[in-house]
């Protein structure tokens, strides 16, 4: 290979340059968000991390991330709790239970859930799911009100709970498709050994498949969590905003970081834009930590890429 040729040098330069450009973009995302948030943070009269008020246009401007961060974490975790068992069930279904000829088609149908854009889920949630969730929430409140999560007096459809149902639907396909990949890589020898011992189908899955796929499933769930936290539009459309942190997830209102940004996109004063950018920075940091965690788990046990 003659690497000294002009064309070769140019080409290497181009490809390496593109890669470096990606590095630059990532670094500048962090840098620019911090830079543009500083002014607003300095003008802020409330404690940014602990205050529950969001009033960057007030005099003096006051805003804090506490309530929004709580909403983000709460709704995403609820979504994760609802989505993970179902997603793993789907992965088991398409890998081990469905007729082999139908399996590819069925997993394609599940992947269709991922092809529906979030704005459509938002529209569906706003005009259809919210009315249904009114009744569901009332039922949960009536019979399971003793659980703190489902307690409280005012119950409505436009709640954190409804938002997390929508989020759960949206993260189903990612969790199930990654779990499916993991399950497909379980060594056939393990499965056959379990079967040879006379294990039933469930016992085979329990002793041969699930232990093998544990780290993969955990990282799949964490990637789903990261996606749920960053999801904006569907949440913004479903929730009706109301102030204050409350454990009662059936109550109307609440807010997430991303949803709040979408709802105040029309804000044009420097302080309010800076406040939004500051909240975006927090969201960026949280999702970064979650995603890194997921990748670290994958990297530690490299059964699959």
């Amino acid at each position: 290979m003659s690497t000294g040729r002009f064309g070769d040098r140019l080409f290497v330069l181009g490809t390496r340059g593109s890669g470096i450009l990606l590095l630059v973009i990532i670094v500048s995302i962090g840098a620019f968000l911090i830079w543009k948030a500083i002014d607003a943070l300095q003008a802020n009269e409330a404690n940014f991390l602990t205050s529950q008020v969001w009033n960057p246009n007030g005099r003096p401007p006051e805003f804090g991330i506490a309530q929004l961060a709580f909403g983000t974490v709460m709704s995403s975790f609820l979504a994760l709790i609802m989505a993970t068992p179902v997603a793993i069930g789907i992965a088991l279904f398409t890998t081990f239970y469905a007729p082999r000829r139908l399996a590819a088609g069925l997993s394609y149908v599940v992947d269709l859930l991922a092809a529906v854009p979030s704005i459509v889920y938002g529209l569906w949630g706003l005009t259809f799911l919210v009315t249904k969730m009114d009744d569901v929430s009332q039922f949960l409140n009536d019979y399971f009100g003793w659980i703190p999560l489902f307690g409280g007096d005012s119950v409505g459809g436009r709640s954190i709970f409804t938002a997390s149902v929508v989020l759960a639907i949206m993260i189903l396909p990612i969790i199930s498709s990654i779990s499916r990949e993991v399950f497909a890589q379980v060594p056939t020898a393990n499965v056959e050994a379990a079967l040879a011992l006379g294990a039933t189908r469930w016992e085979t899955i329990r002793i041969a498949v699930l232990p093998f796929g544990r780290s993969g499933m955990i990282s799949a769930a964490m990637l789903g969590l990261g996606r749920a936290m960053g999801e904006t539009i569907a949440v913004a459309m479903v929730l009706s905003s109301a102030a204050g942190i409350s454990l009662h997830v059936l109550r109307d209102g609440g807010g997430t970081i991303a949803g709040n940004i979408a709802n105040s996109y029309a804000e044009v004063t420097p302080i309010s834009q800076g406040a939004l950018i500051a909240s975006g920075l927090v969201l960026f940091a949280i999702t970064l930590v979650v995603n890194m965690g997921a990748r670290a788990i994958v990297a530690r046990r490299k059964e699959f890429v």
């Binding site: 890669g19 789907i90 081990f96 704005i119 569906w124 459309m237 979408a262 950018i277």
Partner: protein, 301 residues
Amino acid sequence: MTAIGSAKKPSASTLGSVSPRRKLTDRAVQGLVYLSFVLAMIPLVSVLWLVITKGMARFDGDFFSKSMNGVAGRDEGGGAYHAILGTLEQVAITTAIAVPIAVLTAIYLVEYGRGKRLAKAISFCVDVMTGIPSIVAGLFILALWLLTFGFSYSGFAGSLALAILMMPTVVRATEEMLKLVPNDLREASFALGVPRWRTICFVVLPTALTGIITGVMLAVARVMGETAPLLLTIFVTKSINENPFEGPQGALPTFIWDQAADPNSTAIDRAWTGALTLILLIMLLNLAARLIAWLRRPARR
């Protein structure tokens, strides 16, 4: 993929039968697994059914030829021409920006960077980028393009934000495809004295081309439905703006967002038709991508 239990069951007399408790657990789990699949189908069917039935109400000529200029929420008529035009222009620009950078990066990662520190850093970067919430990409362009450089809202700003979301997907897809190209091909080319860059451009890339195109189309379909970054970068307008480089521009997702926020049923109808149009566009891209992948699947299988 392995199907467990497809082998014939040995007769009970030789091995003894499975105890009722184990059989019951097995059956119960099977029921739960089937149930989880059915559970996932409910929202999918519900969403698609509502989008199709409610979307048909306004799926007419006006919708595809008129804008919302001067049309109030409660008025009949009005259309999404401005939004469809905007979406197509923005996605085209996004593709033009993102694909070259992403493909070149993938070439660096696979062909040049194996084992190098820079390549590891870039690969890590691509992972980070995959996880960036779309709204953060929008905020970044807001902070960089609008606040720092002082440009105004435009379709191009939206394309920049979408490009950030599109790049990592295309890099990963291209990487996978390049890795599939057999090394023999490269070595044969080198043996003929062909320089490395010509080998990559005229031997490696053409071999992987269909896979790359499929990946690009899937990535396009994904960014087409993004709403949040667009709100912050292209703003909302009701009139036709053919120039993506100047002034607020429409887009299908922001059109749906705008119409859905209006309590009038005429506006909600328009939102549903917008959703139907968007889903049709995305499905079309998805199907085309799969068709290409299927028609030109490599001969190695």
